[in-house]
């Protein structure tokens, strides 16, 4: 059977996530390649047991693809539940976000039914810019993330398998996320968690950890038990992922109205001087009010601007669909999809496509 006829799931595992400069300035851990490989393997095991026959995966030169290939060869040499056939996309590897963009477009063209994403907020932001209506199963491979789930990869793999089974309508198991749209010099970018306006002139090592450099942040959502810049808002005015508004905070480093102590990074609590807090309604265009600096998207400085540049942002509800893993498994259990009425152990969810192996 050719891959094109199979029930397909895509996997994007960002080799660059979990390794940025915050490891030097906070207590954050490096998220090693070997653990990313292990997580992909656990996803594959779950996908194989829940009826997914083919996986399209983004290649890389940092060892994830190589590790997964070794694992699949090793697995096929032993008896066990079948794993999906893994095909690495043929693409030039630049080790930039363009690799991810290309891979996601190729996955959509091939007809994947879900994309499992291993990465941080930034990785998910890039995937979200290309994935359209294809649901994402999010997995955090870092220690400073607000958007993706921090959960066991096997469970995420089961949810991805169920999502791909065709047993559910996406409205039953997926959340439509908010996003921030940033327009700058003819360029359009999105953010899934927050946009920060910084006084750093250069994107430098990209990661943003020094809030003294930040003048204002805008968030799509902010949870009080989160970590990173959005935690500042989460501790001031929690804003749920489902709320039809966002929130913004302007800092006043000279004459603060109040202070909040927020976990900016693992082991790094910063006392932030608050100027004002305001609601961020849907659709409203807000200019970036600064003479120069950088704009950080989901924790990474991405855009350098000067007084001559016009930049503005707006909030909408057109972010990516993400699979609610817990809800998906609960629904599957309620519908009896996870139980077998035979005397034999269940094999896998048949879904809307007949398996032929």
């Amino acid at each position: 059977m050719r891959l094109g006829q199979k029930r397909l799931v895509g996997i994007v595992a960002n080799p660059e996530s979990g390794c940025d400069v915050r490891r030097l300035v906070s207590c954050a851990s490096v998220f090693p390649t070997s653990e990313k490989v292990s997580m992909v393997v656990r996803v594959l095991a779950a996908l194989g047991s829940f009826g997914v026959q083919g996986v399209l995966m983004m290649p890389d030169k940092s060892g994830i693809a190589a590790g997964v290939l070794r694992a699949t060869l090793s697995h096929s040499a032993r008896a066990g539940d079948p794993w999906p056939e893994v095909q690495f996309l043929e693409q030039r590897i630049e080790h930039t976000a363009d690799d991810t963009r290309f891979a996601v477009r190729a996955m959509l063209t091939a007809g994947v039914r879900a994309i499992v994403v291993l990465g941080g907020d930034g990785t998910h932001r890039v995937v979200a810019s290309e994935c359209g209506a294809t649901p994402l199963v999010t997995l955090s491979t870092g220690t400073n993330n607000a958007f993706p789930d921090l959960r066991e990869a096997t469970i995420a793999g089961i949810a991805a398998g169920l999502c791909a089974s065709g047993e559910f309508d996406s409205s039953e198991i997926c959340r439509r996320n908010k996003r921030l749209n940033i327009c700058f010099d003819g360029r359009h970018e999105i953010a899934l968690v927050e946009v920060a306006v910084c006084r750093n002139r250069n994107i430098g090592s990209r990661a943003l950890w020094n809030p003294e450099d930040v003048s204002e942040i805008f968030v799509t959502f902010a949870e009080c038990d989160s970590i990173g810049l959005s935690s500042i808002v989460g501790l001031l005015r929690p804003t749920s992922r489902d709320a039809t508004e966002g929130c913004s905070v302007r800092f006043n480093h000279e004459n603060p109205v109040s202070w909040v102590s927020a976990p900016i990074a693992p082991g790094l609590i910063k006392h932030m001087p608050i100027g004002s807090v305001r609601s961020l309604p849907l659709g409203q265009q807000i200019p970036i009010d600064a003479d120069y600096g950088t704009i950080a998207l989901d924790g990474e400085r991405e855009i350098e601007f000067t007084a001559e540049d016009n930049a503005y942002l707006s909030l909408d509800m057109n972010g990516p669909l993400t699979v609610d893993v817990r809800n998906t498994l609960e629904l599957a259990a309620e519908r009896g999809l996870l139980a077998s009425r035979t005397s034999h152990p269940p094999t896998h969810i048949k879904g809307d496509q007949q398996d032929d192996y």
Binding site: P15, E16, C19, D20, V21, R22, R23, L24, V25, S29, V30, P32, T33, S34, D60, K61, S62, G63, I64, A66, G67, H95, R199, N200, R201, N202, I203, G204, S205, R206, N210, D213, Y292, E304, T306
Partner: protein
């Protein structure tokens, strides 16, 4: 730590990178004439790494380099004349012409030398860092090594020792993708060299080695940590080299347009120039002037080296032993 460098520092950074680039491009040309003895391994393309790190060091801080060491030596302050003369094997070279490209060193500048032994710098800087710690000088020591060096026992032992003794050491892995002709993705088991930091209880990060500001920022944090007693760090600099492993390397292991594309899209000097001029921090004219001055400086260094005398047979008997009195 911010990347807000003042104008003087920006000019210094650009000049440092330009000096390295022009020096290496010129050695590439001169080596082809057959006048330069031995092997040379050129650093062109990796200038932002040496500059981003060493620009923040003091003269008293130590650096141990690699076989691809010209860039680190120039960044640490070696004069181009004595560098070039050394590479030409001349008596006026910084090591009297006895070291050549792979053993150029100047301990007065804290440059412990280029090193023909892959991964040989790790133990050296552990010693230098231990001395700094014992003497309470608050100096730091930096070891540059490559993706090939990252697989050597010396580096792994040094990472362990530095962590156990909490030495003021910074390990900078310049991962240019190839250990000689072997792709690092085939030869580095963990994929990222930074992954290995955790195995030694050492903070580690990856930075884009084509972006001076990225390297500067990460290195600044690591140096500050080491200097203040916070212990060692590991920084993996993802970078590319423009030339072969050595001069004469046919580079059949690289794509046909690989280097051309790198020069077009990942040139640290062009990226730097674009940034600082767009932000009105420096002008094109100021940078052009540096280009001109450096061109003349390199020209002068080559002329100096070419006309310099060769060592005599009697020189073989000097610099053999060190007098400790």
């Amino acid at each position: 730590m911010t990347t807000e460098l003042n104008k003087e520092m920006l000019l210094r950074a650009y000049r440092m990178m330009r000096r390295i680039r022009d020096f290496e491009e010129r050695v590439h040309v001169e080596f082809a004439t057959g006048e330069i003895p031995g092997f040379v391994h050129l650093y062109a393309g990796e200038e932002a790494s040496a500059t981003g790190v060493i620009l923040q060091l003091r003269k008293e801080d130590y650096v141990a380099s690699t076989h691809r060491g010209h860039g680190h030596c120039i960044a640490k302050g070696m004069a181009l004349r004595s560098m070039m003369a050394e590479i030409y094997g001349k008596k006026t070279g910084i090591c009297g012409g006895k070291g050549g490209s792979m053993h150029v060193a100047d301990l007065d500048l804290g440059m412990m030398g280029a090193n023909g032994i892959v991964g040989g710098g790790g133990p050296l800087i552990c010693g230098a860092a231990l001395a700094a710690k014992v003497k309470k000088t608050d100096n730091v020591a930096v070891c540059f090594f490559g993706d090939g060096g990252s697989n050597q026992g010396t580096i792994l032992e040094s990472l362990n020792l530095a962590s156990v003794l909490q030495l003021p050491a910074i390990f900078v892995a310049e991962n240019n993708g190839y250990a000689e002709a072997t792709a690092s993705r085939w030869a580095v088991a963990t994929g990222n060299i930074a992954d290995r930091g955790a195995g030694f209880g050492m903070p580690a990060a990856i930075v884009d080695g084509h972006d001076f500001f990225a390297v500067y920022e990460a290195a600044g944090e690591a140096i500050q940590r080491a200097r203040s007693g916070g212990g060692p760090s590991l920084i993996e600099v993802k970078v590319n080299r423009y030339f072969g492993h050595f001069e004469g390397d046919q580079q059949t292991y690289r794509g046909p347009d690989e280097v051309k594309k790198l020069r077009e899209t990942k040139d640290c000097l062009l990226l730097f120039r674009g940034r600082v001029t767009k932000q009105n921090l420096l002008t094109e004219k100021e940078l052009d002037q540096i280009d001109e001055e450096v061109r003349n400086e390199v020209e002068d260094a080559v002329a100096f080296a070419k006309q310099a005398p060769k060592p005599q047979p009697s020189d073989l008997l000097t610099d053999v032993y060190v007098a400790y009195a």
